[in-house]
C-alpha cells in the first residue's frame, strides 16, 4: 500500500477536476453511431424493443445498482405507463409525445405512492413489498374499465409527432425511439454522476454513516425510487406506442423478474450493463421463441448461473478486465 502512495497521489492530481471519463464519452458516441446505422442491417422493430427494455433495465439499475434497493415490482410502473399512454393516444387522441408524457407522469405518481410505503422497509422486505404492490396494480389493470382486461389496449395509433411527423413508418418511429431512449440513458447517466448521485452512492455504501452526517436518507431513497419509476414509465409508454399495444404482460410479475434478470446479467451498478443485459435477453426471447417453455427454463438457468458465478454481470467482468468503470 505504501509503495503505491506516490502513484495514487499523481493520478489523484490528474483526475481531480472530475468530469466525464473519456471512455464513457467514446462509448456513448459509438453507441449512437451504431444505433444510427443499425436499422439498415437489423429489423427496426426488434431494435426498438431492445431499446425500450434497455431503458427499463437502466431505470431499475438506477434504483438497484446505485440506490441499493431491489424492486421486484417494477413492472407496475412500466405497465401502468404503457396503459396510460395507450389510452391517451387511442381514446383521448393525444399526439404521441403527449401520450408518452401522460404515461410517464402516471408512473411517476404511482412511484411516489408505492415508494413512500415501500421505503419503510429494507432488503428482502422491500423486494417483497414492491412485489405485492405490483400485484395490486396487476389486478387493477385486469379489472379497470379502461384497460381492456386481458385483451389489453390494442390498435393504439402511433399518430403524428407534434401533429406533424407521421410515425406509422417503422424507420421514422425508430429514430424517435432512439432519441427518447438515448435521452433517457443520458438522464440516468447524469443522475448517477450528479451531486445527488454521489449521496446516493454514499447511502448505498453505508446508510447509518450517511444518517450520521446529517442526511435524511429516506428522502433520497424516495427521490431515486420516483426517478426510477418515472424512467421505467418512459420506457413502458414508448413501448406501448411502438407495439401499438398495452397488455397484461407489461404489468405481470414475471416482467419485474425479467428486468431484474437483464440488470443482473448485464452487471448491476454499471452504466452500460443493463443495455447489454436487455440486448441479450430480448435477443434470446426473439431468436429462441420457437423453443416454447425452454425460453423460461433458459432464463431460469441464466438467473441461477449468474447468481452463483457471475454476480458482476457481463459488463462488470469486462470492467474488471480493463480496470475502468463502465
Amino acid at each position: 500500500m505504501t509503495s503505491d502512495t506516490q502513484t495514487h497521489y499523481e493520478s489523484a492530481a490528474e483526475a481531480l477536476p472530475i468530469g466525464t471519463p473519456r471512455h464513457h464519452v467514446v462509448i456513448f458516441g459509438v453507441l449512437l453511431a451504431f444505433l444510427i446505422v443499425a436499422p439498415l442491417v437489423l429489423y427496426p422493430v426488434f431494435l426498438m424493443k431492445v431499446l425500450c427494455f434497455a431503458l427499463f433495465a437502466s431505470a431499475l439499475n438506477l434504483l438497484l445498482g446505485f440506490g441499493g434497493l431491489l424492486s421486484f415490482g417494477h413492472a407496475a410502473f412500466f405497465g401502468s405507463a404503457s396503459y396510460v399512454s395507450a389510452h391517451a393516444a387511442k381514446v383521448w387522441g393525444l399526439t404521441p409525445e403527449l401520450a408518452i408524457l401522460a404515461g410517464t407522469a402516471a408512473a411517476a405518481v404511482l412511484g411516489l405512492v408505492i415508494g413512500a410505503l415501500a421505503i419503510r422497509r429494507q432488503g428482502i422486505y422491500f423486494a417483497m413489498v414492491t412485489l405485492a404492490f405490483a400485484q395490486m396494480v396487476f389486478f387493477f389493470a385486469l379489472q379497470a374499465p379502461f384497460t381492456g382486461g386481458e385483451d389489453g389496449i390494442q390498435a393504439v395509433p402511433r399518430g403524428h409527432l407534434f401533429g406533424l411527423l407521421n410515425l406509422a413508418s417503422d424507420m421514422t418511429l425508430y429514430f424517435v425511439v432512439v432519441a427518447i431512449v438515448f435521452g433517457g440513458l443520458l438522464a440516468i447517466y447524469r443522475i448517477i454522476h450528479s451531486p445527488f448521485g454521489q449521496v446516493l452512492k454514499a447511502i448505498r455504501d453505508n446508510e447509518p454513516r450517511a444518517v450520521s452526517l446529517g442526511y435524511k436518507v429516506n428522502r433520497y431513497k424516495l427521490a431515486v425510487f420516483v426517478m426510477s419509476a418515472t424512467l421505467a414509465g418512459l420506457a413502458g409508454a414508448t413501448k406501448a406506442l411502438v407495439f401499438q399495444l398495452a397488455s397484461l404482460t407489461d404489468v405481470y410479475w414475471t416482467m419485474s423478474g425479467e428486468v431484474v434478470l437483464m440488470t443482473l446479467i448485464g452487471g448491476m451498478g454499471t452504466i452500460f450493463g443493463p443495455l447489454v443485459g436487455a440486448t441479450v435477453i430480448v435477443a434470446m426471447q426473439n431468436y429462441f421463441a420457437g423453443l416454447g417453455a425452454w425460453v423460461t427454463i433458459l432464463q431460469g438457468i441464466i438467473f441461477v448461473v449468474s447468481v452463483l458465478l457471475f454476480r458482476e454481470g457481463i459488463v462488470g467482468v469486462v470492467a474488471r478486465w480493463i480496470k475502468k468503470p463502465l
Partner: protein, 295 residues
Amino acid sequence: MFELLGIPPQALFGQLLLGLINGSFYALLSLGLAVIFGLLNIINFSHGAQYMMGAFVAWMLMTYAGINYWWALLLVPIIVGASGVVIERLMISRLYHLDHLYGLLLTFGLALIIQGLFRNRFGVSGLPYAIPAELTGAQNLGFMFLPNYRGWVVVASVVVCFGTWFAIERTRLGACLRAATENPTLVGAFGINVPRMITLTYGFGVGLAAFAGVLAAPIYSVNPNMGADLIIVVFAVVVIGGMGSILGAIVTGFGLGIVEGLTKVFYPEGSAVVIFVIMALVLLVKPAGLFGRTA
C-alpha cells in the same frame, strides 16, 4: 329468516368454513416459508414451484407406480424435500455470506426452471388426480354440504401446522434451531452441525410445500402453474404475519383465508386483492408485520 349483513347465517358459516380451507393452504405454505426464512434468511421464491412439484410427484407416483394417495402423503414430502436438500447443498449454501437478495434471485431462477421443466413435460392443461376413495362423499352440516376431503384438508393442515409449531417451540431439536437462528456461531462451537441443520431445515420447509401440494392435488387441477400465482399471495401472508414468525405464519394464514372467503361473498371482485390491501395497511401501521419483531 333473519340475515346477517344481507346473507343468511348458514351461508355465512359455509363461507367461513371454505375460507378456513383455503387458509389451510396459506398456513402450510407460509409456515414453510417462515421456517426457511427463520433459519436461512432466504426468501424461498421457488416455494410455489415446490408446492407444484408435490402435486406432480403425487400424480407420477400414482400413474407410474400405482402408489396411492396415503403413501404419497408420506413419500412426496420426503422426495421433494430431498430435492430441496440437494439444492441447498449445491447452490443456496454458497450464498450465505452474501446479501440476502441473492437468495431471492437464485430461488426465483430455480422457480422458472422447475416450472418450465414441468410445463415442457406435462403441458399446462392439468392432470386429473382422484380424491382417495376413503374421503369421497360429503357431510351435510345443515348449513352446508362439506366434502369429506375438504374436512380432511383442514384437519391435516391443522395437525401439521401444530406439529411443526410443537417441534420448533417445544423439542430439543427445535431448541437447537431456535438457538441457531439467534447465534449460529456459538451453536456450532457447542459441537452441533449447524450447516447440516440448515440443510435439513430447508429440506423440511420444502417438504411442507410438497405436502400442501399433495393435499391440493385432488381438488385443484395438477398443473405446472398452480404454485406460481399462489406464491405471491403467500408472500403477502408472510409479510402480514411478520417474517420468520412461526406462529405468525400459521395464524395469519388461516385468518387471511377467512377474510378472503368473506370478501368472496361481499365483494367478489375484490377477493384477489384484499390480501394485498391488508398488507399495505398492516405495513403502514406495523412495518414488521403483525407478529414480527422490529429489527
